[in-house]
């Protein structure tokens, strides 16, 4: 019988420098137990499940999952309401407000990002190539990425549709090496277990682009093969925890990752430490 540990060893062997090495080497950096989790992706729609939804509802979901701080994006519309988001989260210091912009709007999107960060105090930006209907590596995206780089804020992007495949992430991550990019692995994560040819591309892109991080939400973590393959592709240093709340359930995402029994050091990186660095949190 192949045991989980054997799988991880196999993954490391296939990868050359995979999961086990980096995790072992970080043993001394294990953070204090009990420090709370950070969620890389939540949303604050005004209506959810047919009812009014607000910061309190989102906070309750995160409390249940032991999440301390959480990145919050506005609802993805053709012109996301970043001003409204900033207003709604103002008295909620656990929320790390981030903008969402639509690069198909051209210069307007660039200005929106700049004012969101400089005037509203938002800390990052999300791109949604699927819902805004543009390929991630298209030239219209470059001005937004240049602005994010200049502002020093991370960019979070959908990663599970035809508009945003691993090679497209590789293209933008190579073009903007100073820019931290979080790829939301989504529902059909473009990863496969070690030994499966279709999984190599993602791992190669991650190895080539040190500024690329892989985000696991409840959409991915309920499917062990995608979850483990993401960790295999990225190594724990390049994987971040998230929920996609309120649509995804944070405690489900936590349970999925805990199910994988990656060990305390890897969990500390995934649940917290990687995002602390990316968002420059205390």
């Amino acid at each position: 019988m192949v045991k989980r540990r054997d799988f991880l060893k196999a993954a490391a062997a296939v990868a050359g420098s995979g999961l086990l090495g980096p995790l072992g080497s970080l043993a001394s950096q294990s953070p204090a137990a009990g420090e709370s989790r950070i969620d890389f992706e939540t949303y604050l729609p005004r209506l959810f499940d047919g009812k009014p939804f607000g910061p309190e509802g989102l906070t309750a979901l995160e409390d249940e999952a032991g999440v301390g701080r959480f990145v919050v994006f506005p609802e993805t519309t053709s012109r996301p309401d970043n001003v409204g988001l900033a207003r709604r989260i103002k008295s909620h210091p656990r929320m790390i407000g981030c903008a969402s912009v639509n690069p198909t709007l051209g210069e307007e999107a660039v200005k929106e990002l700049e004012s969101s960060v400089r005037e509203l105090g938002l800390k990052g930006v999300r791109l949604s190539p699927a819902l805004h209907n543009y390929p991630l590596d298209m030239e219209i995206v470059s001005p937004v990425l240049e602005k994010a780089r200049d502002l020093g804020v991370p960019v979070t992007v959908d990663g599970d549709t035809d508009h945003c495949r691993p090679a497209q992430f590789g293209a933008i991550a190579s073009r903007f090496p100073e820019l931290a990019i979080i790829m939301d692995m989504g529902f059909r994560a473009p990863v496969r277990p070690p030994g499966e040819p279709a999984g190599r591309e993602m791992k190669e892109v991650v190895q080539k682009c040190p500024n690329l991080f892989l985000g696991l939400t409840a959409l991915t973590t309920c499917q062990p093969a995608y979850l483990m393959s993401t960790v295999w592709a990225g190594g724990a240093e390049r994987v971040v925890f998230g929920s996609n709340a309120p649509s995804g359930i944070p405690i489900f995402a936590v349970k999925g990752i805990e199910w994988a029994r990656l060990g305390p050091n890897a969990e500390a990186l995934i649940f917290r430490d990687n995002l602390k660095k990316l968002y420059k949190l205390d």
Partner: protein
């Protein structure tokens, strides 16, 4: 009682098990963990297994594992013959299908065996709309044949799946994976298509079945609707005797 409309019988070593054991006993253990009484079960494409593997599992766990036949439609008449044999001789009760062989669907309709189709796709792609139109065409052609759309179109095509489910009384929505990943999608399906059209599925062992069950429970659908989703619709579709 909870019934599952889609689960997989895997072999140990299947790469998608990522190091976990496979086999019938393990599947039943996962069912137990999630409180699932029984599930429609088919082989995984990643294993060197065939329908006989499922038949062996059915014999070992007759009240827990119900056979769902998987055949390669490209084999033509041989595929149809194998499907018929699994039903008439081995007691299989379902067919997993890809909407590309009318001969197989016709055989399922003749035998009175429900069909399950994997659904997903991105609503902005023209071929996605064509795919759902084919399912609608199938439902129209065989009105007495229950057809379950597994995954309810996933997140990017759920509206298409609900739309066709509402049009045809014999089309159902399988909660497989969305119940765990985004439970609110299941609630949308219940509200827009009706609880009598939604069937619980776990996708075990490839998804965490207990999260799927918990996802449905958290929706607070009400006792009657929850019972339909977890078991009532399954029992009706697969004609289970009490």
């Amino acid at each position: 009682m909870i019934y599952c409309c889609e689960s997989y019988l895997t072999l140990t070593g299947n790469p998608y098990l990522v190091g976990r054991p496979g086999g019938a006993d393990e599947l039943v253990r996962l069912f137990d963990e999630a409180g699932i009484q029984a599930g429609m079960t088919l082989i995984s494409g990643a294993d060197a297994a065939d329908n006989r593997t499922v038949w062996e599992a059915m014999k070992k766990h007759p009240t827990r594992i119900f056979g769902m036949c998987l055949v390669n439609a490209r084999r033509g008449q041989a595929a149809v013959d194998e499907f018929r044999m699994t039903v008439t001789e081995w007691g299989f009760e379902g067919l997993k299908h890809s909407a590309d062989s009318d001969d197989l669907v016709k055989a399922a309709a003749d035998l009175g065996v429900p069909v399950t189709i994997h659904t997903g796709g991105e609503f902005w792609n023209p071929q996605t709309k064509t795919f759902y139109a084919k399912i609608a065409e199938m439902a129209k052609k065989y009105p007495a044949l229950p057809i379950i759309m597994e995954h309810m179109g996933y997140r990017y095509s759920i509206d298409l799946a609900i739309e066709v489910a509402r049009q045809y009384p014999n089309l159902y929505l399988g909660t497989t994976i969305p119940a765990a990943s985004e439970p609110v999608l299941v609630k949308k399906a219940v509200q827009e298509a009706g609880a009598e059209k939604v069937v619980f599925g776990s996708n075990a062992p490839f998804a965490l079945a207990d999260l799927g069950v918990e996802g449905i429970r958290r929706l607070k659908l009400g006792k009657a609707d929850e019972e339909l989703v977890f078991g009532g619709n399954f029992r009706r579709i697969y004609r289970l005797k009490d």
